[in-house]
Each structure stands twice: as structure tokens, then as C-alpha cells.
């Protein structure tokens, strides 16, 4: 099975071959490195940019205006905070020109904690991103979704941001990407650049197939009547683990929704599940003051207040200026499996 980062790379290759991608660029995105996480190794349209995030997004906008289809990378979402004005403009170009322009660009960037990244490689970005009207924002939690969301991001004629959970980049899924060779080692040999000199290396791409995960479609990854768990990205597998544990130990079964799209989010799926269970847990690792999860909670309160059987729960990252390198900081800054498990247990067992 491919890792998430290999899935992204294959999607980009598919994008170059079949979906009109013209430029994949950013800091260290081109040869020799092919991205600090290897997401862009061996891609024919990948190139290195100056160290200038404003130039990266501005140039991506220009390329899109002129008819190209760029995929730009910010090396880490942590380094996108000097570009919010340009991101806002990218989101409003169609609107401000009353529909004259499309801006088909993809911005991909690793987001979240979990790689011992200290202050500047542990930020989450989805709450900020969700405020960028005119954008669509996705965040896969497994390789197949990463592939399918990336393909959708590429063909969508609007700016789409692909947030890649840093902690899951090297994690493998349990489903093959259409066209992916069944054997991991074979895949690695085909598409991973060798260590050392790469000047003559060329990838051998598998015969990949089109596969879209529609924007705005959540995945119901576990089913049950006892509660609705809503998450995405890094915390999604933790929620699944918690749900599985609870099922095993207590026989309590929950819906677990992998949102996949932050905006537009799949309100239908959320609404259906909340109507069914009346119990809600929202989990993400972004900081907790003005967090996208709070928006979801607000929608639930707006439309399902009287369906709620007990107080809905929400687990978020602490409102602190940063995540410290020593793991005692991180462990106590963002939700961990034990928190999720105990909160879920509490939620499902509280007397209605």
C-alpha cells in the first residue's frame, strides 16, 4: 500500500498526464529533492521556486489567470501566514470580477503536529483556511482519499487548498489506489527517488486510473447509533481507534465521520448522523479559540439543538502560542487517544 505522500505524488503525476496540470512548484519541490516530504519527486512539471511564499501563491494565481493549471506548495503551512492577503484575493477574484475569471489553482501544504516540529512545524491551518471565502479546503486522512481529493482539487476550477496531515504522510492505507501495484516494495522501486545521486533517475509510473473523491463528501468510516464522532486529518485515525476500542470493550458503536472536506463540509452527513444519535463529539488538533470545530458545533446547535440528548463534546488543541519540542509539550497541547476515548465513553454513557 502506498503512503499518503506517495499517493499525493501519484495524483500529481496523473494530474500532469491527464488533467492538464502545468506547474508543480514551490521551495525544493523540483529536482533534486522533490519536496521535503518527497511529495513531488520525479514529476515532469515540478520546479524549484525562490524562498518566497508570497511569490509562490502570487505566481500560482498568475499562472491560473493565464490558462495554466498550477499546483503550488507551501513547504509547511506554518510558513503561509504572510500570504493570507493573497489567499483572500485568490478567494475573491471570481466574485470581485462578477464571474469573469476562474482561478483553477491547487495549493498544497502539510498541516498539523506530530512530527516533533516544535513551534514552526506543528501549526494547524484548517481553522484559518476555513475563513477564506471562495476557497475549497480538503484534508485527507488516508492515501486513497489523498489521491481522490487531489484529483478533484486539480479539476475543480476554483482555488482548492489541500492540507496534508504531517503526522500521516508516511502512513499507509488499507486500500489500493486504482492502478497501484499491490506490492509496496515494487511501488517504492518505481516511484521513490534513490538515496544519493539522482541525476539519471526517472520514475516508472504505474498505470494509474482516474478516481475522484467529490469535494464536500464525508466518509462514514464506522457506523453505530450511540454517538456521532466528527473529525479529519491527524485525529481521525485516533477517533477510529477510540471507537473501535469502545466497541470492543463496551459494545458501544458510534458513527465516525471523516469529514475529508473542510469547506464545503458535508452537512447532510453530519445532520443525518446527529439526528440519529443525538450525541456529538468533534475532534481536531487546531487551537481552540475560534476553531473550525466550533463552527460545526454552531451548525449543529442551529439545526439540531432539540435533537441533542446530552451535551455535545469537543476536543481541540489548547490555545497556546506554540507547541514545544519536548514531547511533554505536544502531548499536553493537542488531543491524544486517551482523551478521545474517555470523552467518548463519557458522551455515550451520560444519562439522556
Amino acid at each position: 500500500m502506498a503512503t499518503l505522500v506517495q499517493a499525493v505524488r501519484m495524483a500529481l503525476h496523473y494530474g500532469e498526464e491527464y488533467l492538464g496540470v502545468t506547474d508543480i512548484f514551490g521551495e525544493d519541490v523540483g529536482p533534486p529533492l522533490g519536496g521535503v516530504f518527497t511529495a513531488t519527486q520525479g514529476l515532469k512539471t515540478a520546479w524549484n521556486s525562490p524562498l518566497d511564499e508570497r511569490g509562490i501563491i502570487g505566481t500560482a494565481m498568475g499562472i491560473a489567470y493565464a490558462g495554466g493549471r498550477p499546483v503550488a506548495e507551501f513547504q509547511f503551512c506554518d510558513y503561509s501566514f504572510n500570504t493570507i492577503d493573497l489567499l483572500k484575493v485568490a478567494g475573491n477574484q471570481r466574485w470581485s470580477g462578477a464571474g469573469q475569471w476562474e482561478l483553477p489553482l491547487v495549493l498544497m501544504t502539510p498541516s498539523g503536529s506530530g512530527i516533533r516540529g516544535s513551534l514552526y512545524h506543528s501549526h494547524s491551518f484548517e481553522s484559518w483556511a476555513s475563513r477564506l471565502a471562495g476557497w475549497k479546503i480538503v484534508m485527507p486522512s488516508n492515501p486513497l482519499d489523498a489521491y481522490g481529493l487531489m484529483l478533484s482539487a486539480i479539476v475543480d476550477p476554483n482555488p482548492v487548498m489541500v492540507l496534508l496531515p504531517k503526522a500521516l504522510l508516511r502512513v499507509r492505507g488499507d486500500k489500493l489506489i486504482p492502478g497501484e501495484p499491490a506490492d509496496e516494495a515494487t511501488l517504492k522501486q518505481m516511484i521513490d527517488a534513490p538515496v544519493g545521486d539522482r541525476t539519471n533517475w526517472k520514475p516508472r509510473w504505474p498505470d494509474l486510473k482516474e478516481y475522484f473523491v467529490p469535494l464536500g463528501k464525508a466518509a462514514l468510516v464506522r457506523e453505530g447509533d450511540s454517538a456521532t464522532v466528527i473529525s479529519y486529518g491527524r485525529t481521525l485515525p485516533l477517533c477510529v481507534q477510540a471507537a473501535d476500542q469502545l466497541k470492543q470493550s463496551e459494545g458501544i458503536e458510534c458513527d465516525v465521520l471523516d469529514l475529508r472536506s473542510i469547506f464545503p463540509y458535508d452537512w447532510k452527513a453530519i445532520s443525518a448522523s446527529v439526528s440519529k444519535t443525538g450525541r456529538v463529539l468533534i475532534v481536531n488538533e487546531d487551537t481552540e479559540v475560534t476553531n473550525f470545530g466550533e463552527h460545526l458545533l454552531r451548525r449543529i446547535i442551529d439545526q439540531h439543538f432539540y435533537d441533542l440528548k446530552v451535551r455535545p463534546r469537543i476536543l481541540l488543541g489548547k490555545h497556546v502560542p506554540g507547541i514545544g519540542l519536548n514531547q511533554n509539550y505536544e502531548r499536553n497541547s493537542v488531543p491524544q487517544l486517551p482523551h478521545i476515548l474517555s470523552t467518548l465513553r463519557e458522551l455515550t454513557t451520560e444519562r439522556a
Binding site: 502545468t22 506547474d23 521556486s49 525562490p50 518566497d52 508570497r54 511569490g55 501563491i57 502570487g58 505566481t59 500560482a60 494565481m61 498568475g62 499562472i63 491560473a64 489567470y65 493565464a66 490558462g67 495554466g68 498550477p70 492577503d85 493573497l86 484575493v89 477574484q93 471570481r94 466574485w95 470581485s96 470580477g97 462578477a98 464571474g99 469573469q100 475569471w101 476562474e102 483553477p104 471565502a133 471562495g134 475549497k136 484529483l151 478533484s152 479539476v155 475543480d156 476550477p157 476554483n158 475522484f212 467529490p214 469535494l215 464536500g216 463528501k217 464545503p264 463540509y265 458535508d266 452537512w267 447532510k268 451548525r299
Partner: protein, 361 residues
């Protein structure tokens, strides 16, 4: 409408016997000068009508380009106008009415934006005046955010260079705005070794950023000097002189079209109504007026007489009044328009296949 490609005067050499107007060592054919003059006057008349609207309540905020016509009109006339990478891309600031009129915009379309009508083709009554947007002419939306156009310009130029042909990217902005990092970004991204880009970087230097004199904030003798370390050629031009401006633009465009590398022009211009309606939009008296200066030359050379000058002004004013009247009679945007044109239709979006329709339902 005459655009780039009509040879006469483009290279400063007039045809034998055809009357010319000379400025320094450069000249333009008389017909070209008449055309430029008329466009300058029309641009001014349109802006002055808009200023009136900002004061009468027929519009709110005004900002625009009186004082820049001597440069912005020759710029518009030389644009290779069209859609897509074979043509020039324009990343403009908010003082480019002269450019738009020279490219063929009607006054009505300019004033529709001032009047915030639904018929405003640039923004459907959403944006400030002078914030043009014309996809058919490769004009990307002007934003109020100072200097960010310089960050986008390399992108269109990348596609143009790859596309082949002689389309170039033109970016304009003010002098104060060059203090934003985006100005430097444009130089860096346009000169990547082996990947130089056909970007014509224009700075309209009126010596002011709102109330702040440039000389109090900027140590550079000329802003274009900042291009030198990057190997970007450039020139400073008197933007109040349409003949000098024409030729500077022509040189810059030719360089970008042929060399596929960046070029810089710093045009010294006036700001004849102050910064905007926020600062009162009052006519200033102590800065040269490019139209007056040009008319003196045209009159002295016998290319026009006083009567013709008056007629042109009167016609332009009448055209502006008529455009205003027409625009003000047109419908306004409605509540239903608030969310319209947020998203382009998408076959892979389960929630917004056509456009934005409010929060996901």
C-alpha cells in the same frame, strides 16, 4: 482602434511629409497625437464626472488617475489587446482609466462601476471605481491591496513565455507601494537565471502615498535603480509628456516582447485631485497638468487650434454626463446577488456544483 502594429511613429521616425509633434529628440505623428489628446481629455472628463458623483451622492468613494493620462493613454494604445497568453496581460492599479479608455472601454462602463450598478461589467457594483476587470482584454481584477499585483505578474508571464509569441505582462503601481516586499518579489521572480520573464514593471511615481511625501520615506534616487542588481534595464520618463511616454513604453514593450526579459519604467506623474475622495478630491494647483502641457504643444505646432481643443473638451464632458445619466438609470444589484459568482461550476463538488449558495445544507 489603432493599436500596436500600426508602424507609424512607433519607432519615433515619422513618415516623410506627415506632420509630427516633437518632444526633445522624439516625435509622434500628428494623428497619433490627436488620438492621444482626445483620449486624455476623455479620461479626465470621465474622472471629473465621477468626482462629482462622489460629492453629489450619486456614488460614494472615488479614486482615479487624473494626472496620469499622459502615460496611461499611450500605454493603453500600445497594449496587444486580447484574451489568453498570446496577448498582453495587465495587472493594473487604480489610476488606469486612461489605459482602459485607450483600449476601447466606453465611459459608460467606467461610470457604471462608480454608480455601483448591476450593469458594471468590472464588478457588478461590488468594487470601487477604477477597479477594472476585463477578461476579454486580459485585465485581471484590480485590487485595493497595494502592490500585490507585482506578485501575480510573474505567473502570467511564465505562461506567456512558455506559450511563445510576443505577449507580455504589464504591471503598474504607485511609488509608495514599492516599499511592500511584493515589488522585490516581482524583480526576483522575473529574473531567475534561465527563467527570465517578459514583465514590464511600471511605477507611476507621483511623489506621494496619500499624505506622505516619497522623499521622507525613500532613499532610492530612482525606484528603477532597484532593478539594476537584478540586471533589469529601465528608464525614468516624464509621464506628463505623452510623446516621451509613448516611446519609453515602446522601448520597454519591445524589449520584453523580443528579449523575453523584464524591463522597468518609472513615470513621473502628477496627482491632480489628491489621493481620493477621502482626501476631498480637490484640484491641486501646484502640479503640472499633462493635458494642459500637451495642448500647449499641439497649439504651438499648429496641429490643433483653440476651438478644436474646446470642442474636444466639451464633447468629452457631454459624453461623461450622458454616461452618468444612463448609468444612474440602470438597475442596482439585489440581495440575491450577494453570493453570486463565488464559485465556478465544478463537476467534482457535491455541495456547490454550480455556484455558492450559502452554508452547506
Amino acid at each position: 482602434m489603432p493599436i500596436r502594429g500600426q508602424a507609424s511613429g512607433n519607432d519615433g521616425v515619422a513618415l516623410l511629409d506627415a506632420p509630427v509633434l516633437t518632444s526633445g529628440s522624439e516625435s509622434l505623428p500628428a494623428d497619433r497625437c490627436r488620438q492621444i489628446h482626445r483620449l486624455m481629455v476623455r479620461a479626465r472628463a470621465m474622472e471629473e464626472r465621477m468626482i462629482k458623483m462622489s460629492k453629489s451622492g450619486e456614488g460614494y468613494f472615488w479614486i482615479g488617475g487624473p494626472g496620469e493620462e499622459g502615460f496611461s493613454v499611450p500605454l493603453g494604445l500600445q497594449v496587444k489587446k486580447g484574451q489568453g497568453p498570446a496577448y498582453d496581460f495587465l495587472h493594473l492599479h487604480y489610476r488606469n482609466s486612461g489605459t482602459l479608455l485607450a483600449m476601447g472601454m466606453t465611459m459608460l462602463d467606467g461610470i457604471r462601476q462608480m454608480a455601483m450598478r448591476r450593469t458594471d461589467p468590472h464588478s457588478m457594483g461590488r468594487n470601487f471605481p477604477g477597479h477594472y476587470c476585463r477578461r476579454e482584454w486580459n485585465i485581471v481584477p484590480v485590487t485595493s491591496v497595494i502592490e500585490i499585483q507585482y506578485t501575480m505578474a510573474p505567473g502570467t508571464a511564465i505562461v506567456q513565455k512558455r506559450h511563445g509569441g510576443d505577449g507580455i505582462t504589464i504591471v503598474t503601481g504607485g511609488d509608495a507601494g514599492t516599499a511592500e516586499g511584493d515589488f522585490a518579489s516581482c524583480m526576483i521572480w522575473s529574473t531567475r537565471p534561465g527563467n527570465e520573464l517578459p514583465v514590464l514593471m511600471i511605477v507611476m511615481n507621483n511623489g506621494w502615498g496619500i499624505s506622505t511625501p516619497a522623499c521622507t520615506q525613500h532613499a532610492e534616487k530612482h525606484i528603477i535603480d532597484r532593478g539594476k542588481p537584478f540586471g533589469i534595464p529601465g528608464e525614468v520618463v516624464d509621464g506628463n509628456d505623452p510623446i516621451a511616454s509613448w516611446h519609453a513604453i515602446h522601448r520597454g514593450m519591445t524589449y520584453c516582447r523580443q528579449q523575453r526579459r523584464p524591463y522597468m519604467i518609472e513615470a513621473m506623474v502628477s496627482r491632480l485631485y489628491g489621493h481620493s475622495s477621502s482626501s476631498g478630491a480637490l484640484r491641486v494647483k501646484d502640479e503640472p497638468d499633462c493635458i494642459e502641457l500637451f495642448e500647449q504643444k499641439l497649439l504651438a505646432a499648429g496641429i490643433m487650434d483653440e476651438a478644436e481643443v474646446h470642442r474636444i473638451h466639451a464633447e468629452a464632458r457631454a459624453e461623461a454626463d450622458e454616461a452618468a445619466e444612463q448609468a444612474l438609470g440602470e438597475p442596482e444589484p439585489t440581495a440575491e446577488d450577494v453570493e453570486r459568482f463565488t464559485y465556478a461550476p465544478s463537476r467534482v463538488d457535491a455541495v456547490y456544483p454550480e455556484d455558492y449558495t450559502g452554508l452547506p445544507q
